[in-house]
Structure formats: C-alpha cells, structure tokens
Symmetry: C2
Subunit: 243 residues, 2 copies
C-alpha cells in the first residue's frame, strides 16, 4: 500500500460496468461516449461534494477512487463507502436535493455527467441495478462493522472491492490496485491504523494477501473467502442476488 495514485483506469470502466449491469445498445453507448467528453477532474484529497450540499446532477466516475465520509465532532472520521470507476455518485432517486455525506477524492478522479436514460433502455436498467448494488454494499458494510472482527473486516472488504473492480473490467484474477492508506482502511473499517497494520501483517504471514505499493494480490482467494463466509453479489443482466 502506498500513496501512489491509482494508475489511470481503463477509460472503458464506465461502459464496461454499466453494460454488464444493463446491456447497452448503440444509443446508450453513444450517450456514454458523449458524456465522457464533458469530464471534470478532482485532485486527490479534494472534497468533491460537501455534506448537505445540493445535488445538481447525477455523475459517474470515469477513473479514480473516491469515498463518502462523515466527520464526528471529536475529529474522528467514518468512511461510509468507497466509490470506484464506473460507479454513479449523487444519484438522487427522484429529487432528494441534499447529500447525506460528503464525497472526497482519494486519488485523482475524473467524473462525467451520467447521461439521461430512456425509460426501459439498458442504461435505465443499469442505473436501477447500480442503485440496488449500492444499497447492498451499504448493508454489507453495516454487517461488516457490526459482526466481524478485524481480520474478517479487512478480508471481507478486500474481497468485495476486488469483485467491484472486476465488474468494471479493472484488476486481474488475483491482483488489483489498492490506493488506500492503512489509515483510510481503518476509517472505513471502524478500526485504528495501528490495528489495521497488525492485521495486514498477520494476513501476509498467513499467505492470505501480498500487498506492496498500491497493489494487492490474493495468492489464494478461495481460502480468504471461506475464512469470512464471503457472499459475492451475483449480477445477472437485470437481476441481482447474493448467492
């Protein structure tokens, strides 16, 4: 793990992910391609959306990582969720006008407007499924924090993040970028950075992970999975199940 910004993600992350979620036709793909000409960049650490700010439009992440966070009065921070390339951000179902959490760029982030979807189109289905997946991940985060110990939280989160990256066509079978510092991981998993450090060391000792300079590797993903009873999200075109 390091502070190195994630390599420029394949610009295809957005159409790849949405295509797998909804099945995009030529019109949808053209709309996405058009939207990706109207990009906005946020340097790492920049706050992209302030908590309570009005949400003007739904946007999509073209490349880079970001996260939603909340700061408590004692200065501690909880990272609610991590946003990856291909994810939608600020999606207001109808006209929810206010962001419940602030969004901060973790690496340099490129976003574009999320094109308006024709009702019934593949893009429309993709948006709906993406929202459902987001909610699923939020409930998974609750379960992780409420019921898993440190090693379980780390392992479960890494597995989920690996799957999410692969859905967007990023990362390999057993390798993927991991630009979070140990302190960020701690803030996401409800731990301290010291304990995250010790937990990662234990996982390295047990040959569960290899981590170096922003790249994470699973030497044996299956072993990790049944260590934490990991339930991947199955995405089936326009359906979703946690088998």
């Amino acid at each position: 793990m390091s502070t190195a910004p994630a390599r420029a993600a394949a610009p295809a992350a957005l159409p790849t992910r949405l295509g797998r979620l909804g099945g995009l036709d030529a019109a949808d793909l053209a709309a996405l391609a058009r939207a990706q000409h109207d990009t906005r960049r946020s340097p790492a650490r920049r706050e992209m959306i302030a908590e309570g700010a009005a949400l003007r439009e739904r946007r999509a992440i073209v490349s880079g990582w970001a996260f939603r966070q909340r700061i408590l009065s004692d200065g501690s921070r909880q990272i609610i969720s991590v946003l990856l390339p291909g994810d939608l951000v600020g999606v207001c179902r109808h006209d929810n006008p206010v962001a419940p959490t602030s969004v901060v760029a973790l690496t340099d982030v490129v976003t574009c407007p999320a094109p308006v979807a024709t009702p019934g189109s593949g893009l429309d289905r993709a948006y709906a499924l993406s929202a459902a997946i987001d909610e699923f991940h939020l409930t998974a985060q609750v379960t992780r924090l409420g019921r898993l110990n440190a090693i379980g939280r780390v392992a479960d989160w890494l597995l989920e993040t690996h799957d999410r990256l692969r859905l967007a066509g990023l990362g390999g079978e057993e390798t993927f970028p991991m630009p979070l510092t140990q302190e960020m991981l701690a803030d996401a998993l409800g731990l301290t950075s010291v304990h995250v450090n010790r937990t990662l060391q234990a996982m390295r000792r047990d040959e569960l992970i290899h981590a170096r300079s922003g790249v994470m590797t699973f030497p044996n993903r299956a072993r990790l999975e049944d260590m934490v009873d990991y339930r991947p999200v199955r995405v089936t075109s326009n359906n979703l199940m946690s088998a």
Copy 2:
C-alpha cells in the same frame, strides 16, 4: 424493556409521517385511506420478506415494528435497520427485483400497499424524501457501528428512534415505546446482550434514561444529545438536512 407487543399504534402514523414529508392533498389522503383498507398482518417474529425474495410491490407499515436483518453462517445476526409505523418497505427505485436483506416482524405488524403517487404530487415528494431519510439512517448506522463505543451507540440509536417515532406522530416529548429486547438491541448495535445490559444499567444510574416494560423515557434529552454529538435529521417539507 419487555416482550410486550407495542400498543396498537395510532392508525394515523402513515398519513402523519408522509404528510410531514411531502404535504398531502385530499387526493393523496384519500388514496392512503383507501390503501389502509387492504391490510396484511404479520405476527411478531414472522419473516415478512425473505432475503433474495422478489419484491412485488412497495408497502407501508401501518402499525408495529419490524427490522431488516442478515444472518451470518456462524448464526450471528446483524439488524441492519428498524422499520417503524409510517415507514415504507420494499421500495424498489425502478425495478430492483430482489430484497437485499430479510425483513422480520418485531411486534405484530400491519402493512398496506403504498399507493401509487402521481408524479409531482405531495405523496410523490414524500416517497422521495422517505427514501432519502432511509439512506441517511443507513449511513448513520455505519457511523454508529464504526466510530461509537457502547454507550454512544445505545444513546445515539435511542435518540434517532425517538425522533423517527415522533415524525410519525408516535411517542411523547420524552417518552416512547421500545419493544426491542436487549438481545435485539445488541444485534442492531454490534454488541452482545450482556454488554447492552450493563450499558443500559450505567445509563439508568446516570439518570440518562428510564426504561421499564417496553417504555423508554429521557429525563434529560439534551444531556443525552451532547453526550454523543447527536445530529437530528431536519425535515423541511421537501428537503432534508442534518443540522
């Protein structure tokens, strides 16, 4: 706290809550009244929606408490969120066909179909705001589990639940029904029932709460609030902010 089912909630909980969220006109109120003739009852402990089950329709809770939960392979359970009278359940934004968690009745629960809202109507706004509030509470739950200790989690959750009940016109200034057992509270807050018991005892000793047979009382709500830096959700007709 006890096992006693919550008293039959005022049947007005649903129109009260949605009215405060969206401002209902005569047509909306009539639609709600009509919907409340088509009720369905779930006895306490009955599973209302299985995890992964297809969501056929959006329903509303007329009376009673329920909760969304997830069971882990080791038998432990995490309560994701509690559903109160006036809440909407199984709200699929577009056509998310699958429940990400199971829903279980905590007390005897009465539900009715959530009437279809005319776009732009008060009911439509209420649904949108309700979804936004749900998401806000989910992020609050993540923060609670990730960053607060036992007493903070209990206090924060009690305050939030009190506010939610009052939004639906239930409970008083400093008193409200609390039908959860200590074990359920533990499963919601990521603790053990033994520790919840000790925490509640400490809060009683400090005169922060009075709890007996299903009724909770705050002798001094303000003191509780600044003990945990509680941020209530302000609902302003068709807006929402966490001031």
